[in-house]
C-alpha cells in the first residue's frame, strides 16, 4: 500500500507515493537521494539524522515520512547558499575544526543552528546540554563547542 505525500524539501515542492512504514530519513536518503542526512543508530539517540521541520531541529529517524505531510523540511544540502557558500555555522565548524570523520557532522550542524536560534546567548554549559541528542565519537566535543561559540560571536572565518 502506498499513500501520497507532498511537502517542501529545501525550498522545492516534492510529491511522492510512499509505504506507510517508511521513515522520514529513509524518504530523504533513499527516495530523494539527499544522502547528507545520516543514520547512526536505531534508538533516536545519536542525532546524525537531524533535519529541520518548519524551522525546528527534529530527528528524521523517529518520524514517519507521512507525518511530515505539507511540512517544510530543510536538510544539510539546503542549509548553505546555492553556489556552495557555507552557512555561518558550517563555516564555523570548518574554521574551528569541529569535525573529523564527518558522519555526525551534518546532524550536529543542523542541531547547532537550531540551538542558537532558540538560545542565541547560550553559555558553554547550555551549549553542551543542548547537544545531548547528538553524539560525536571523533572530536571529544571540544572543537564542536568552540565552533558553535565562534558562530555565536559572529566572527568571520578564514578562507
Amino acid at each position: 500500500m502506498s499513500i501520497p505525500l507532498s511537502l517542501t524539501v529545501n525550498g522545492k515542492a516534492v510529491t511522492a507515493s510512499v509505504d506507510p512504514r517508511m521513515l522520514l530519513v529513509q524518504f530523504i536518503r533513499d527516495h530523494l537521494r539527499l544522502t547528507g542526512t545520516h543514520v547512526g543508530c536505531d534508538t533516536a539517540q545519536c542525532g546524525a539524522c537531524t533535519v529541520h521541520m518548519n524551522g525546528r531541529a527534529i530527528k528524521s529517524c523517529s518520524m514517519l515520512a507521512l507525518q511530515v505531510q505539507g511540512a517544510e523540511i530543510t536538510t544539510i544540502e539546503g542549509l548553505g547558499g546555492q553556489d556552495g557558500e557555507l552557512h555561518p555555522m558550517q563555516a564555523a565548524f570548518r574554521e574551528c575544526h569541529g569535525l573529523q570523520c564527518g558522519f555526525c557532522t551534518t546532524g550536529m550542524v543542523m542541531s547547532a543552528v537550531d540551538l542558537l536560534k532558540q538560545n542565541p546567548k547560550a553559555n558553554e554549559d547550555e551549549i553542551r546540554e543542548a547537544l545531548d541528542g547528538n553524539i560525536c565519537r571523533c572530536t571529544g566535543y571540544h572543537n564542536i563547542v568552540k565552533s558553535i561559540q565562534f558562530c555565536q560571536s559572529g566572527a568571520k572565518a578564514s578562507a
Binding site: 509505504d19 512504514r21 536518503r29 537521494r33 539527499l34 544522502t35 547528507g36 542526512t37 545520516h38 543514520v39 547512526g40 543508530c41 536505531d42 534508538t43 539517540q45 545519536c46 546524525a48 536538510t75 544539510i76 544540502e77 542549509l79 548553505g80 556552495g84 557555507l86 558550517q90 565548524f93 570548518r94 574554521e95 574551528c96 575544526h97 569535525l99 573529523q100 570523520c101 564527518g102 558522519f103 555526525c104 557532522t105 551534518t106 550542524v109 554549559d125 551549549i127 553542551r128 546540554e129 547537544l131 545531548d132 547528538n134 553524539i135 560525536c136 565519537r137 571523533c138 572530536t139 571529544g140 566535543y141 571540544h142 572543537n143 564542536i144 563547542v145 578564514s158
Partner: protein, 790 residues
C-alpha cells in the same frame, strides 16, 4: 593551546591549514558506503543468533523464500560446500611451551554452532531493505542451547568449551621478558607494590555503522566491494587469498568516505565476505548496512584485560622489576589482529618511560561466548599504560613520595634506550613534557585548591600519567619473526601531471584524520607548489598501487614517508630533465622553492616547465631518460616511533552523590615534528574523549549466565555526550623522530592511551583509596567514598 591563526604563507608544514575535506562533509556531499547506490541494487540482511552458545539444527527457509521481493538466501552449509574458507588471523603467537596458538575456524556464516549473540547464521537478499528485513524474520532456525562461557577470569576453568578442539578455552599462554631476572630482583626489593586491575571492555562505536556493497560484473568476471574499512588492500588480500580463493586482480575494494574507525574497521569481517561471495550467485549488487544494534553485537570490541601487577623497588623508590600477569578475552573467534593486541602491542610497552631493568609478563588469551575482541584506539598500549601508570602512582603513595618525583627519578634520560621488553626508544625528553604539564596544570597551587574544596565539603585529587606508545609498527622482517603474517610497510605514488599539478595515491586511509590536508601540505612543501595543486587519493585498490592502511597512528610516519620517498624520486628525475633544458650536468642542478637551478648561477627553470617537458618530450634526453614524471615508493620503517607525553588530571568529587567534576585536564605530548597543529590538536581531543569515556562511563556488559549483551544500544551503553567531557588544555614538546625524514611520530591514539590512568589516579587521590574500577560511575565513586564494596 594551539595557535589557530594561519601565519603568512611560507612552508605549508607547521601551519594550521583548514581541512580541504570539510566542505564536502559540511554540505552533505560526503559519500559513505551506505550512500552508494548501484543499478539493480539488492539489500542483504543477516539472520543472527539469539543465543550465546548453541548447536544449530535444521534451518527452514521455505517461508522466507516465498516472501515478497526475496532474491536469495545463503546458509553457512552452502559456503562449506563451496569450499569457502574461514576468516584468517593475521598474527601467530606461540605459547611459553613453544606450541603455536589455537586457531579455531572463524566461519563466514556460522554452521554447526553459534558462539555469541549476534553470530550470523544466514544472509537474506531482497529487492528492498524492508523486504529483506521482513523475510529474515521468517527464517526458522532450530537451536539446541548450550551453557555459555562469558567471564574472562572463569573461561579457562570452565567445563564448557567454546570450540571443541581448544582445551581450557585457551588460545595461548604467552610469556615475554626475563623471568629469572625479575624473580631475582623481587628477592632484593625493599618494597613491592601490587595492584589488581581490570581494563574494562569497550564497544568502539564509530558513528558510521559498518556497511558494504558488493558488485559482481559478468563481462570481466570481476568484483567491486565498497566497504567501510581502514585498509582496503589488506581487506582484499585476506579475503582473496585466505577465504574466497579469488585472484586479487579480479577484486577491487573501495573504502570511500568512512565515518570513523578507531580500529574497528581494520578487520576482515564475515558480512562483507558473504556479500562478495553471494554477489556472483545473485548476479546483482548487494548492500548491507549494520544497524546500531548489529554494530554493538558484532563490531570487534576492545580491551577486556584482567591483570595482576607487581612493582619491586629499592628503599629510595628506584624501580627494580615489574611482573605482570594478564588474562585477555579474545571473544568467540580470533579477529584479524586479536592475538597481537595483548602480546606484541602490550607487553612490549610495559617499560613505559622508565628504566625498570627487569620486566616479565605472562598473558593468557581465552575464548568466550562474546563478540570478538581486537584492536581499539591504542590497542594494547592503553592497557599497558594503565598498568604502569596506575602502579607507579600507587607505589609513590606507598613510598610516601611525590608521584611526579618518583616518575622523574625513574625516567629514561639517555637515548637510544633498549628496554628489557624488546623495544629501542630512539629519542625523547620526558622531563620536558612533565615540566610543561606541571606548569600548565599549576601543580604548585594544588594544595590551596584542595583546601578550598575541602572547605566546601568536597574532595579534590590530582593524578598523573606519563605514557609512551609505539607507532608505525615495524620493520616487517622483525614483525614477521614475532609472528606477523603481513608486511608493515606503506606505499605511495606521486603522479605529476603535464601542467605541474600533482595527484598523490596513498595506501594510508583517512576516516577522519584529515590526510587530504596534511599529506598535501607535505607534498606542497617538498615541491614548492601551492597546496591546492596537490590532490590526495586514498581508499581504492583500483587506483592505488598497494597499501597497508591506517591503524596504530602510522599514517604520517609510514604512509607520509612513502610519499616523501616518491617525491624525492620525482625531484631526482626532474633534475635530470632540468639539466638537459639548462644544458648543465645533472649533479649541478638543485631544486628549491619550486625551481630547478644551476648551482652558483642564475640559470633556472620552473617546476611547470619541467613537468610539461616530461610529457611533451621534444627537447628531452630520450636516449637516456624515459618520458613522464610519475614515481612509486614503498617504505618499510627501521623502527617504531615513540610518541610520549605527560597528562595531569584534577578532579573534584562530591562524596554525597559520587559525582565527579574534571576541573582541569592537561595534556602535553611529544609527537615529534608537527605538520598541521590544528589537526593534531583535534586528534588529541578525540583521543582524550575516548580515554575519559572509558574511565568515566563506558563499559560493555554481558549477562554472565545467558551471554545476552546488556549494553546493546545508546540507551544502555554510556556513550560520552558533550556534557560528560571537559575542555582540554593541551600543548606539545618536540624531539624529532630520528629515523623518518619528516621527524614525525604519530598522534592518533595518544589521548586514549594516556588519559584513563590520569583520571583514575586523580580520583583515587581525591578519595584516598587504592583502586576504583573503570568505569568510575557515580555509584562506584560513592561506594568508594563511603567505603562500601562495589
Amino acid at each position: 593551546m594551539t595557535d589557530m591563526s594561519v601565519p603568512p604563507m611560507s612552508s605549508p608544514i607547521g601551519q594550521p591549514l583548514r581541512r580541504r575535506e570539510d566542505h564536502r562533509f559540511l554540505t552533505g556531499a560526503g559519500q559513505y558506503t551506505d550512500d552508494v547506490l548501484m543499478p539493480g541494487q539488492t539489500y542483504g540482511v543477516f539472520v543472527r543468533s539469539p543465543h550465546a552458545h548453541a548447536r544449530i539444527g535444521a534451518i527452514r527457509t521455505d517461508a522466507a523464500k516465498k516472501a515478497p521481493g526475496v532474491v536469495d538466501i545463503v546458509l553457512g552449509s552452502e559456503l562449506v560446500d563451496a569450499k569457502v574458507g574461514g576468516l584468517p588471523c593475521g598474527w601467530l603467537i606461540h605459547s611459553k611451551d613453544g606450541k603455536p596458538m589455537n586457531e579455531p575456524p572463524h566461519p563466514v556464516l556460522a554452521w554447526e554452532k553459534v558462539r555469541h549473540v549476534g553470530d550470523q547464521v544466514a544472509l537474506v537478499i531482497a529487492e528492498t531493505y524492508l523486504q529483506a528485513k521482513d523475510a529474515a524474520e521468517l527464517v526458522e532456525v532450530d537451536y539446541e542451547e548450550l551453557p555459555a562461557v562469558i567471564d574472562t577470569t572463569k573461561a579457562a576453568s570452565s567445563s564448557t568449551l567454546v570450540h571443541d578442539g581448544v582445551p581450557h578455552n585457551t588460545c595461548y599462554d604467552w610469556g615475554h621478558g626475563n623471568k629469572d631476572a625479575v624473580d631475582a630482583a623481587f628477592k632484593q626489593a625493599a618494597h613491592v607494590t601490587t595492584l589488581d586491575i581490570v581494563n574494562n571492555r569497550l564497544i568502539p562505536n564509530a558513528m558510521e555503522p559498518r556497511a558494504a556493497n558488493a558488485v559482481y560484473t559478468r563481462h570481466d568476471e570481476s568484483y567491486t566491494l565498497y566497504v567501510a574499512n581502514q585498509n582496503p588492500h589488506v581487506e582484499r588480500l585476506l579475503m582473496c587469498a585466505f577465504v574466497l580463493g579469488l585472484p586479487e586482480s579480479k577484486v577491487r575494494v573501495i573504502a570511500p568516505d568512512v565515518g570513523g574507525g578507531f580500529g574497528s574497521k581494520i578487520f576482515l569481517y564475515p558480512e562483507e565476505t558473504a556479500l562478495v561471495w553471494a554477489s556472483k550467485r545473485v548476479g546483482r549488487p548487494i548492500k548491507w548496512t549494520a544497524d546500531r544494534s548489529e554494530a554493538f553485537l558484532t563490531d570487534a570490541h576492545g580491551r577486556d584485560h584482567v591483570t595482576k601487577a607487581e612493582l619491586a623497588m629499592d628503599a629510595q623508590g628506584n624501580f627494580l622489576a615489574l611482573r605482570v600477569k594478564t588474562i585477555a578475552n579474545m571473544g568467540a573467534y580470533l579477529s584479524t589482529f586479536a592475538s597481537s593486541v595483548p602480546t606484541i602491542l602490550y607487553a612490549t610497552l610495559l617499560a613505559g618511560q622508565y628504566k625498570t631493568p627487569a620486566i616479565y609478563a605472562e598473558v593468557q588469551a581465552v575464548f568466550t561466548n562474546t563478540a570478538p575482541v581486537d584492536a581499539y584506539r591504542g590497542a594494547g598500549r592503553p592497557e599497558a599504560t594503565y598498568v604502569v601508570e596506575r602502579i607507579v602512582e600507587q607505589a609513590a603513595r606507598e613510598m610516601k613520595m611525590d608521584p611526579a618525583k618518583i616518575r622523574r627519578q625513574n625516567f629514561i634520560t639517555e637515548f637510544p634506550y633498549a628496554t628489557p621488553v624488546g623495544l629501542t626508544y630512539d629519542v625523547g625528553n620526558y622531563a620536558a613534557h612533565l615540566d610543561k604539564a606541571m606548569e600548565m596544570a599549576d601543580v604548585a597551587g594544588f594544595a590551596a585548591r584542595r583546601q578550598a574544596s575541602e572547605a566546601k565539603g568536597k574532595k579534590r585529587g590530582l593524578g598523573y600519567s606519563c605514557y609512551i606508545e609505539a607507532c608505525g609498527i615495524a620493520p616487517s622482517n622483525i614483525a614477521g619473526a614475532l609472528g606477523a603474517r603481513a608486511g608493515l610497510f606503506e606505499a605511495g605514488e606521486v603522479r605529476v601531471h603535464p601542467t605541474g599539478t600533482v595527484t598523490v595515491f596513498t595506501g594510508s586511509h583517512s576516516h577522519g584524520q584529515g590526510h587530504e590536508t596534511t599529506f598535501a601540505q607535505v607534498v606542497a612543501a617538498k615541491l614548492g607548489i601551492p597546496v591546492d595543486n596537490v590532490e590526495i587519493v586514498h581508499g581504492d585498490t583500483g587506483r592505488i598501487p598497494f597499501g597497508m592502511g591506517t591503524y596504530g597512528s602510522r599514517s604520517l610516519s609510514v604512509g607520509g614517508t612513502a610519499i616523501v620517498k616518491a617525491v624525492d624520486k620525482v625531484i631526482a628525475k626532474g633534475k635530470k630533465i632540468a639539466a638537459h633544458l639548462l644544458e648543465a650536468a645533472d649533479t649541478d642542478v638543485e631544486f628549491e622553492n619550486g625551481e630547478f637551478k644551476v648551482k652558483g648561477t642564475d640559470k633556472k627553470v620552473p617546476w611547470g616547465s619541467v613537468s610539461l617537458t616530461a610529457y611533451v618530450p621534444h627537447n628531452y634526453p630520450l636516449d637516456k631518460l624515459e618520458p613522464g614524471l610519475n614515481e612509486n615508493a614503498f617504505y618499510d620503517p627501521t623502527n617504531f616511533t615513540y610518541p610520549a607525553g605527560s597528562y595531569i588530571c584534577e578532579v573534584e568529587v562530591d562524596t554525597e552523590t559520587g559525582k565527579v567534576k574534571i576541573e582541569k585536564f592537561t595534556a602535553v605530548d611529544d609527537f615529534g615534528n608537527i605538520v598541521n597543529p590544528m589537526i593534531v590538536a583535534g586528534q588529541v581531543h578525540g583521543g582524550l574523549g575516548q580515554g575519559l569515556g572509558q574511565a568515566i562511563m563506558e563499559g560493555c556488559h554481558y549477562d554472565p549466565e545467558s551471554g545476552q549483551l546488556l549494553t546493546g544500544s545508546y540507551m544502555d551503553y554510556a556513550m560520552p555526550r558533550a556534557m560528560d567531557l571537559p575542555n582540554y588544555d593541551i600543548a606539545t614538546t618536540v624531539t624529532a623522530c630520528s629515523h623518518n625524514p619528516l621527524g614525525v611520530k604519530g598522534c592518533g591514539e595518544a589521548g586514549a592511551i594516556g588519559s584513563p590512568p590520569a583520571y583514575i589516579n586523580a580520583l583515587t587521590d581525591a578519595l584516598g583509596v587504592k583502586e576504583i574500577a573503570m568505569p568510575a560511575t557515580p555509584e562506584r565513586v560513592w561506594r568508594a567514598a563511603n567505603q562500601q564494596a562495589a
